[in-house]
Amino acid sequence: MQDEPRPDELVKAVSDFLRNDIAPQISGHAAFKLRVAINALDLVTRQLTLAGDSDAAELHGLTMLLGVHGTLDGLNQDLADRIARGDIDLATPGVKEHLWQTTLAKLAVDQPNYGSYKRELEPK
């Protein structure tokens, strides 16, 4: 077991430093590149914070949907193959909900400011 601080705490500290102390000092193309870098670090922080729970939920969902046990990667491949073959489609109970949940979990890490994602989080 590794010691503290956790990776997410370290990465966030670096990102905050770049955003608050370095970004105001630079301009032009380097400033653009720095913004991309900060975005990448923030994405990593979100993944380290959120993916444990969402991966566990996804694995559970896949196990229920497919009726077999396996790894997250293996079961996702199985689901993708069954959809490609037409064995599973949107009429299959639970498929639509599963795809929505897993996609929303990706967006929460990748692009939480994406317009479609924010719209889907609004109360209906």
């Binding site: 975005n39 994405l43 959809i83 489609d89 929303l104 967006l107 692009q111 479609s116 889907e120 209906k124």
Partner: protein, 332 residues
Amino acid sequence: MSTTSVAELLARSAAAWCPGAAGVTSAARLSGGASQETWSFDITHPDGAIGAILRRAPSGYGAAPGRAAGLDAEAVLMQLAHDAGVPSPKVLHVLRPDDDLGTGFIMQRVAGETIPRKILRDDEFAGARPKLARQCGEILAGIHGLSAASLPQLRRMTAAAEIAELQREIDGFDWPRPVFQLALRWLRDHDPGPSERVTLVHGDFRHGNLMIGPDGVRAVLDWELAHLGDPIEDLGWICVNSWRFGVIDKPVGGFGTYEELFSGYEAASGIAVDVARVKFWEVMGTLRWGVMCVGMMQRFRLGPDHSMERAMIGRRSSETEIDLLRLLAPRA
């Protein structure tokens, strides 16, 4: 090649085809990957400086990638479009071997803005925005109306061929993509079949490739992906949510409605738009962009472009997955 030597070669070239040209200033490389470059420069001239753009593939980069029309074809298409009244830069010169600049062409530089966030939000464009969707419809009608006999050699695409190509790319990712597979199934099940009309398709008609001023669209740029196919592909592509830049309730580029786009197209072409076909191509376009995002990430991995930008584009493919679900499996 250094900026100095490109500027010198441009000055020598301009002297040969632009009477009165007395040198080149402000040469600057704008963008481009390993195989294609874009340069901006000014030709010094007694009547006033002439703003120009060079698009070229340096010597040694012969074959264009699979989907590209090639720079020679791009130059011909731009000239045809310009002559037919489609807003398009005038082609000033097609590079020859003795220019020593590789293959490509030089065109007039059109002033305006291509950055979507400025076009969609700045006051300067407030007057143009309500007109853009209809104008895009009119322009696309013009592009699709270009005489087939005058066109250069272009690849012929069909929906079925496009689906097969996407399938091959997705299967090659070696990474499970259930939502992409769902979209592929949907496309197969909803393929409207071969189009009755086969025309020139611009292939990348969207923000970034439209030079826009306060008066509207001034030029259609980047004909690199032009091909022959179902003209409705262009109408679907400009409606892909990725090109709305956050203004998601205005499906055409974040500035207009389907109805405005279609009415502009119908008025200029006299041809009724098949709305179901547009949706089919919008789904295809959304999946295509998602696949392109993953492809760019893979090029980051393989090098030589080991940039953060390319890496981060891989994490934008999930944006297209949520958009595909909104199109194909909307929640109540």
